[in-house]
Symmetry: C2
DNA sequence: TGTTTTATTTCGACT
DNA sequence: AGTCGAAGTAAAACA
């Protein structure tokens, strides 16, 4: 129930505690000089150097250097960890199947070892996602424009499901496409395909771009590139500037 | 020059060593019960629980639970770390600008603290990447087919740069598209755009799909989906099965 | 189990 | 600083 911490342990000592930590389901960190090799979806080799090896009870293994957000090598959850002492040195191997992958860390020196029991608090509450944005628009349709009424989210069409679908104050159908960050022309193309699909459903000229178009397109994003703005104008679509993080 | 490790330190003690470790440019890990909040590109809150906080000298900050390959919260490299003691508790904050982001970790208990000096061995030698595949094909063109001769890699076209461009045994131009894993119809579409661009360059019928097409398309990938195979056949393109990991 | 889509994607290269 | 494309992407939703 407590953290086990070893300073400059022997390889055999580290191995012993590693096995015990696996059994307890602890989160383990091992710091020291090591080489790393990976074989699986690709292959890689890392020469000798100081790294931090993190071993999780769910099977994940991470090798971190002093730089970067992403581990320099890793193994996904679902792998199984094995420790051994070979030629007097600690070797940790993490393997999984489908796809077959194997990560091997060979320590020449172990400087620090910790085994940490972890309890609770795994649930993260994220807001500012696209789903969150959709919810906010359904709850407060005026964010799009006064009089807008959403009738469906994820409504299917021949071009795929549309983020939000509804009608404006005049009763004209509106297709709303949501993006949580600055968008390029590709997003306009996606919106255009949805609008076109709905126009075809209704038997209207699919390529109309004026008030006779009978189906409107609205792109919701914090901002758009110049190119995207041009394409929006070409199609006669509107852009609503909405920051997904803002409270309203 | 050595690892500093504290078992159940006081908040003030942890704060003190944290500041010193930042100054030395050490890799720091702090394990304990804490809450985490993030504001920036999105926003999130994480209730109290045991987590491992990793602070790197390049500004990266990672919060790990006992599950998953990706950190539950993080801050990218280039951020700056600040430690403080507020109301008797250790608080670590990592901030950056453009975009403005802030990660705050508030500890209620610190169970383990380590400051680790990291030296050398940061260069990873990965093989099996798309770039690696390209190199292999240039060195051994027969992997595509006997008589194939690559003339350029990343050759520009009106549809973007092509992975490999060359001529076959008959002197017919060949566009090669490389994918390191199983591909769907989208990859065939990409290849088709390149082939079409080259045909247009040469003043040939861009939509021809037979031996008169004058420009061939080859898709290199370990395997293709059924749908992709159909589209390859439609266009008259070839598929070469190549595992990016294989030695030859 | 495999496929498709999203992501606080990250990361690198290039403009 | 923005834009584009690849990644051992990871992870979730879905068939």
């Amino acid at each position: 129930m407590t953290v086990i911490s070893l300073h400059d342990p022997s390889h055999r000592e580290a191995f012993w505690e590693l096995e015990a930590a696996f059994d307890r389901g602890d989160l383990v960190s091992v710091f020291g000089q090591c080489t790393v090799s990976y074989e699986g979806r690709a292959a890689s080799d890392l020469g000798s150097g100081d790294r931090l090896l993190l071993l999780k009870p769910d099977g994940a293994a991470l090798v971190h250097t002093d730089e970067g957000r992403t581990p320099v090598n890793w193994q996904p959850p679902g792998s199984t960890h094995h420790a051994a002492v070979r030629e007097g040195r600690l070797r940790v191997r993490s393997t999984r199947t489908s796809p077959d992958e194997r990560l091997t860390v060979r320590f020449s020196t172990v400087r620090q070892f910790s085994a940490m029991p972890v309890t609770g608090g795994r649930d993260l509450d994220v807001h500012g996602s696209e789903e969150d944005l959709r919810t906010r628009i359904v709850e407060r349709p005026a964010l799009i424009e006064p009089g807008f009424e959403p009738t469906a989210t994820e409504r299917p069409s021949s071009a795929g499901p549309m983020d939000v679908f509804g009608v404006d104050a005049d009763g004209t159908p509106v297709v709303v496409e949501l993006k949580r960050r600055r968008v390029g022309p590709d997003a306009v193309g996606q919106l255009a395909r949805y609008v076109r699909a709905v126009r075809e459903e209704r038997g209207v000229d699919p390529d109309a771009a004026d008030s006779d178009a009978a189906v409107r397109g609205v792109l919701v994003a914090p901002s758009v590139t110049d190119r995207a703005a041009e394409r929006l104008a070409d199609h006669g679509f509107d852009h609503v500037a909405l920051d997904p993080t803002a409270d309203d």
